[in-house]
Amino acid sequence: MKRMRRAERPENRAWSRALAVVAIVLLVGACAQTQSFLTSEDLAQKPANPRVLIMPADVELSELTAAGLQEPNAAWTSTGRSNVDAALDSLLAARNATVVRYDESGGAGSEAETQLLKLHSAVGGTILLHKYFPALALPTKKDKFDWSLGQEATALREPYGADYALFIYLRDSFASDSRKALIVVGALLGVGVQGGTQVGFASLVDLRTGEVIWFNRLVSSAGDLREPELARGATENLLDELPL
């Protein structure tokens, strides 16, 4: 876990393909709860009062059709996003961190910051793909965790006065009535049919270096981001072993 080279940036096309695989990886791992990676000697001693920049949480809630397609739901997503935001605020406060919110209004410097958000979703997806799916493990990254957003990420440090940036990605799906019926029919026939699933990942980036110093994946077949308490539980799981 030494100083790192930059994470490879996947090609655009490769990236869209990767996203599809990520979805599969997340589903395949449905039995696991959370599994995190940590890379850094710096954090062995926890900073007393770190300033954490919370990036806009990428949350989407959808309904699962009988055939297993996901129909996005804007109202649920809006509720879920608010619940996750509130949970992040209180959970980080409990860890003595000062929360700084990313400015989503699109002011000065927002173009470069948007590119960082895009880069992070590419890097995060790549980590998921290659660290959580043994068959896809990269030979050069098998036994280490050394991903980075590159020096450009330090551009977030100054304007927000933050030490770390926290990125959250969450997807939650709920069985539609017809999916529920299919589950019943399946049970009668002895065939297991998956209901809604909650999947996500979180990563913490050191804004002095751009390194991804901590990464965690969450997969759960329970939970409901539409409910504040359950959203808090899911967020807590996601932040499990966060080194702050």
């Binding site: 055939a67 739901n73 065939v191």
Partner: protein
């Protein structure tokens, strides 16, 4: 087992009825109309809003204000009412394609703007895409997919998986034919808008005819273009559009060639290069022929014709390249690179004096040539 099967069949049948009822009758969207957050349509909009956010900072989007104003102007002329609901993103990509998202994001590839020989041809594409928006085709398609796959999965369960593959194929077939119906609907509405705006509707069928010619000349005809994979039956559509256009008196309609040519002039070279880089020389040659026939030949187009021959490098290509470069040079508006390419071809053919002259002309014309050192090295080698 039989009774279980019967139970599940009953359950499936009950749900099938329930899911059919949901499709409902989808009316066209009204100008300014927005779906509610709770609806399935609201979900589709939310997803595309995110895609749009990404698009806004994509390096592939052509932001030139004049070009964007031109394309937008055509759209707004076609239908002023929906003009404010649609955002056009011109994306730098070779090949012919455009798409319409449910939330009003229209993506137009530069390959389409390059291929359009006039305003009317571009209008035929924009009108077709706008029709997808007006008639809520994304929503219709989503509901069709949802219902069809739901039915297929219940059918599969009800028959104990025996007919699973058949059900899947039937579902796929149903979805594809549904898509083709929507394409026809969009063609018809698009053509009506063209006609009402005063664009010559006959140009719509020509756009298709040009595409078919390109495909037939392709070096890899089996490798269908991205466009044909989602828009089948091009021939049928071309014929239908031609027939529809012939039903009315088209005197007094315009095609708008000059404004189109003037607006894209400064981009055309880059876009031609994008096409050339696909390395499908047969197809590229037909594209050049079509633009030439449309009266758009100039030094730049001749230069790319030369490039096509030079890079293909088959039997008589070297000589054809020389002919094209020479014609380009004589036209007076050829890019400086014409002389560099001419020099390379002449040198390969052993005509050192001609090559030398061409390289020297290149260096004189391109004072800040990035490859000056290389060309000077060539000149030294020739001595």
């Amino acid at each position: 087992m039989t009774s279980t099967r019967a139970t599940s069949l009953l359950a499936a049948a009950a749900l099938f009825v329930a899911s059919c009822a949901q499709t409902g009758n989808i009316q066209k969207i009204e100008p300014g109309e927005r779906p509610t957050l709770e609806s399935d349509e609201g979900g589709l909009w939310m997803q595309m809003d995110r895609v749009e956010e990404d698009l806004q900072t994509s390096g592939k989007v052509v932001t030139d204000p004049d070009l964007n104003a031109y394309v937008r102007d055509i759209l707004c002329r076609l239908n002023a009412g929906y003009c404010a609901d649609v955002r056009i993103y011109i994306v730098r990509t070779a090949d012919f394609n455009a798409s319409m998202a449910p939330n009003g994001v229209m993506i137009v590839w530069t390959g389409i703007v390059l291929r359009a020989q006039n305003e009317a041809q571009l209008a035929s594409v924009l009108g077709h895409e706008l029709a997808h928006y007006i008639d809520r085709h994304s929503l219709k398609r989503w509901r069709e997919i949802r219902n069809t796959t739901d039915t297929a999965v219940f059918f599969t369960f009800a028959t104990g998986g025996v007919f699973g593959i058949l059900a899947g194929l039937a579902a796929y077939d149903s979805i594809m034919s549904f898509s083709r119906d929507m394409e026809r609907e969009a063609d018809t509405r698009g053509l009506t808008m063209m006609r009402e705006t005063g664009y010559d509707p006959r140009e719509a069928a020509k756009t298709w005819q040009q595409l078919i010619e390109e495909r037939e000349a392709s070096d890899e005809p089996e490798k269908k273009s991205a466009f044909f994979s989602t828009h089948p039956a091009a021939k049928e559509r071309s014929e239908t559009l031609a027939k529809l256009a012939a039903e009315t008196d088209n005197t007094g309609t315009t095609v708008g060639r000059d404004r189109h040519a003037a607006t894209i002039a400064s981009f055309r070279g880059d876009w031609l290069l994008d096409e050339l880089r696909q390395r499908d020389y047969g197809r590229f040659e037909v594209l050049l022929d079509q633009l030439t026939e449309a009266g758009m030949e100039d030094g730049e187009l001749l230069f790319y014709r030369g490039e096509m021959h030079r890079l293909r490098g088959e039997d008589e290509d070297a000589e054809k390249a020389v002919t094209a470069y020479t014609a380009a040079a004589e036209s007076g508006d050829a890019p400086a690179e014409t002389y560099r390419s001419l020099g390379l071809v002449q040198w390969s053919a052993g005509r050192t004096a001609e090559a030398r002259a061409a390289f020297e002309t290149y260096l004189a014309a391109q004072q800040d040539a990035e490859d000056r050192a290389m060309i000077e090295h060539y000149l030294q080698q020739m001595q």
